[in-house]
């Protein structure tokens, strides 16, 4: 709480004037509280957007005067500026060097993300940004099913992976001919290869240095693709016999059955990536899920949202559960949970985590979206909560300790170059900062 100055004033009128000025100052001040001004450790503050107010707002205003609409994530560029995914405004915006909001990609109208001037392209729900070794912005244009490169000097966008068709295809071929289905995030490894979280395809894919694309996580040899159907029926002796047929040529009565489902599930811990399965949402109502990050040793962390876990795949493609727990096979009735703070991360419970961020010291932050909080796994493997009250959605003002401030479905988490934690508090329409 701000305390009014208590200096002795001799005359009533001057006292009145001072008080009036003080009141006006307090009433009009935009920056909420001293704990934010002082960047007190552990305090949560608003970084960008207007708490509880969704919208487009204006460019050219300060971050706290602007509006965002279901912000998804944020990434700091090599220029030190934050680039944000303003999801329902279908734009990428940044806080520029002058400290003002500026749109850098997208008109806001729906479209197929055509190549050309970035400010004239039309996106549909972009979800992630990373930066290439050469400093280009790499955009996961989620619902466009493309990954595109933006040269920030020339302001041009060019798609380099994904045809835009929402399906699975192209492994072994050039990246631009690959077919993706809701690429939710893409990160570079230390060699400069790009790993793409191909959400609805339930796969991690990698663009090699020769520009070919391959699957490195999911879905195992059992999987049959969607052009085929698998039909199981009892034979004469009552044993179940399964047959895989081309869907188009399924005139054989034994081949009439349900079309194959997505290669989702839970499998593969202890094995290698191509035998593993994840569950990241697909279908008409799917929101963004399954974002990834990578650590200094090239281990990939995957928010395996539907399995309520964070999976880890090392440089040599060994898969394990890094955080969260649940049934040994995918169970649609298991809705995750909140448990385990203070203990080992892979014994804890998460609920529908949507993003993960690795700090320089190896600490991993998890957007525990379904629990409305941010979890932290320190290098010793112990998990705790750093922001939000797990299990309670809400809309609390800035200026209090982060772990006592409610969030509402935070979809994104990032660590800034300043070492502080940035949170996309998606349904509160703001980015938050937690001073660490």
């Amino acid at each position: 709480m701000r305390v009014m100055p208590n200096a002795a004033v001799s005359r009533p009128l001057s006292r009145l004037a001072a008080l009036a000025a003080g009141l006006a100052l307090v009433a009009c001040e935009a920056d909420p509280v001293d704990a934010c001004a002082e960047k007190t450790k552990g305090t949560i503050c608003d970084f960008m957007g207007s708490l509880g107010k969704s919208g487009l707002g204006k460019d050219g205003v300060t971050p706290l005067q602007g509006r965002l609409y279901w912000p998804q994530d944020l990434t700091f560029g090599p220029d030190g500026l934050p680039y944000v995914l303003d999801w329902n405004n279908h734009r990428v915006r940044r806080v520029n060097a002058a400290g003002l909001i500026e749109t850098v990609i997208g008109t806001g109208e729906l479209g197929d993300a055509p190549d050309g001037p970035a400010l004239e392209t039309r996106l549909n729900h972009p979800t992630h940004i990373s930066f290439s070794p050469t400093g280009d912005l790499v955009l996961s244009a989620w619902h466009n099913s493309k990954v595109a490169r933006v040269n920030l000097q020339t302001g041009t966008i060019k798609s380099f992976c994904g045809t835009g068709g929402r399906s699975y295809g192209g492994d072994g071929g050039p990246a631009e001919k690959a077919v993706l289905d809701l690429p939710v995030a893409a990160v570079f490894d230390s060699l400069g290869r790009l790993i793409i979280a191909d959400q609805a395809n339930q796969r991690l894919r990698r663009i090699e240095l020769d520009n070919t694309i391959h699957t490195i996580f999911g879905p195992g040899p059992e999987w049959i693709d969607e052009s085929q159907v698998k039909v199981c029926a009892p034979d004469d002796k009552g044993a179940t016999v399964c047959k895989v047929c081309a869907k188009a040529a399924a005139s054989d009565p034994a081949c009439k059955g349900e079309p194959a489902k997505r290669p989702s599930g839970f499998a593969g811990d202890g094995g290698i990536g191509k035998d593993a399965r994840m569950f990241t949402y697909f279908g008409q109502e799917a929101g963004p899920a399954g974002r990834i990050d990578i650590d200094a040793d090239d281990a990939i962390y995957l928010s395996d949202s539907g399995n309520h876990r964070i999976r880890k795949m090392t440089k040599d493609l060994q898969v394990s559960t890094f955080a969260g727990s649940g049934p040994a096979t995918y169970d649609a009735t298991y809705d995750g949970g909140f448990a385990g703070d203070g203990g080992p991360a892979n014994a804890a419970k998460l609920r529908s985590p949507r993003d993960v961020a690795v700090a320089k010291d190896g600490t991993v932050f998890i957007a525990d979206t379904g629990n409305h909080c941010i979890r932290r796994v320190k290098p010793d493997g112990v998990i705790d909560t750093v922001a939000g009250i797990c299990g309670k959605a809400g809309r609390d003002a800035a200026g209090s300790p982060a772990a006592a401030t409610r969030l509402d479905r935070p979809y994104g988490v990032a660590v800034g170059p300043d070492g502080n934690l940035y949170i996309a508090d998606t349904y509160n329409f703001v980015f938050r900062i937690v001073y660490l």
Binding site: P12, K53, G57, L110, N144, G165
Partner: protein
């Protein structure tokens, strides 16, 4: 958020009673708060009154966003509204496109009646798939495009990016799916409920208990007859282009926005004789289909995007991205001529076309003046209230505007 910052002052000064200080400080505090609280209007809004032909804003403060429900109509945020619907009893709804909501003007307040705070497809429990349906505010929507009052008192909601038609019952507040599942083209010859649509953008009643559907990404018009059976009646499936004037309706080609992530486009209307009108958005034309005679013709638009031809014949006039079409009480066809920033009116007998609102400038201007001199910014929708007054969905101004005065008989 401001309450916790005010500091109570109990200091009394010599010569003046404590309550004088208290009252003065309270007044000053109130004044200070009011001075910087830009969302509190100093004066009540000017009533929408004036001579016939005067335009004024009736919903929306111009800010793109969602600032909660229950705000006064003129202080409410909208985000790219696309349509406005008026029930015969006078109730009015806005299709608040980029807020993914249907909002109702309840007295002086705006309230969401369908749609939640989450983008999606129906309620989590799928209880909207069968009657009586789900509570409207629990139904997640994805870019609804139109709401049409039906003869039974319900409203048909075109759930564009959900690839569905939903029914909203304003008495119960519940919503259920009546047509459509996932995106596709299927079901012709069968019951409409199981058919697949691909981003249906608009519907129009056929006057006989059936319905026409502008099935955007399938590039066709489909018809549900009074028995509930669906058929394709005009256009070439997935075959966008321009063809068919002088040919049969199923040989025609239209051009609605396509691709994987198109913006909405196309609209459909029906006249008193049962003829079908199609806003052929990317052909910049209005087409007319007579299904009984099996003919197709262009009744407005040369095909070239542009503005011109007022006072002359429709086919010699230019349109630019025509969107909603609807018949006015005078029998003329009104056109949301979006990228001309104007509302046009077309006499479908003489084919004379004129501009009825908008000066072409893409900005917000002209309230309380004549509609033709006001500025609209990409107006997509146009409707009429029970008094026969025109309501303009001024999409990029995030406002609904009304033109005073009944549009008379022709």
């Amino acid at each position: 958020m401001r309450g916790h910052k005010t500091t109570q002052q109990r200091t009394a000064s010599k010569g003046l009673p404590a309550r004088w200080w208290a009252a003065t400080l309270a007044a000053l505090a109130a004044a200070a708060l009011a001075a910087c609280d830009t969302e509190t209007p100093a004066t009540p809004p000017r009533p929408c009154e004036g001579a016939d032909g005067t335009i004024c804003t009736v919903i929306g403060n111009g800010e793109a966003g969602f600032d909660g429900d229950g705000n006064p109509l003129l202080e409410s945020n909208l985000y790219w509204p696309i349509d406005v619907a008026v029930h015969p009893d006078g109730r009015t709804w806005v299709i608040d496109w980029n807020n993914h909501r249907v909002r109702e003007a309840q007295g002086d307040k705006l309230q969401t009646v369908v749609g939640s705070d989450t983008l999606g497809d129906g309620p989590d429990d799928h209880s909207d798939l069968t009657p009586a349906g789900a509570v409207g505010t629990l139904v997640n929507l994805n870019h609804p495009t139109q709401l049409v009052p039906m003869d039974d008192g319900s409203l048909l909601l075109v759930a564009w990016h959900n690839h569905k038609l939903r029914k909203y019952d304003p008495l119960t507040g519940r919503v259920h799916v009546v047509v459509g599942g996932g995106a596709g083209y299927a079901g012709d010859g069968g019951a409409a409920k199981g058919a697949q649509l691909d981003q249906p953008q608009a519907v129009a009643k056929d006057g006989k208990g059936g319905l026409y559907i502008l099935d955007q990404r399938n590039q066709v018009v489909r018809h549900i007859d009074q028995d509930g059976v669906i058929h394709t009646v005009a256009g070439t499936v997935k075959g966008d282009g321009f063809a068919g004037d002088g040919l049969k309706p199923l040989e025609a080609k239209f051009s609605f926005p396509k691709g994987s992530n198109p913006p909405p486009g196309g609209w459909v209307a029906v006249d008193a004789k049962g003829r079908v009108y199609i806003s052929d958005t990317l052909n910049h034309r209005i087409r007319r289909v007579d299904l009984a005679a099996q003919t197709v013709e262009t009744i407005a638009g040369t095909g070239e995007a542009g503005y011109g031809g007022d006072g002359g014949k429709g086919p010699e006039a230019k349109l630019n991205n025509p969107r909603k079409i609807t018949f006015g009480p005078d029998g003329r066809l009104y056109i949301g001529d979006e990228k001309n920033n104007r509302i046009r009116a077309l006499d479908v007998d003489t084919l004379t076309i004129t501009t009825v609102a908008g000066d072409g400038k893409a900005t917000f201007a002209g309230d309380f003046g004549p509609a033709a001199k006001a500025s609209l910014w990409r107006p997509i929708g146009v409707s009429f209230n029970v008094k026969g007054e025109m309501l303009i969905v001024d999409t990029y101004n995030h406002r609904i505007r009304r033109v005073i005065g009944t549009i008379g008989g022709k």
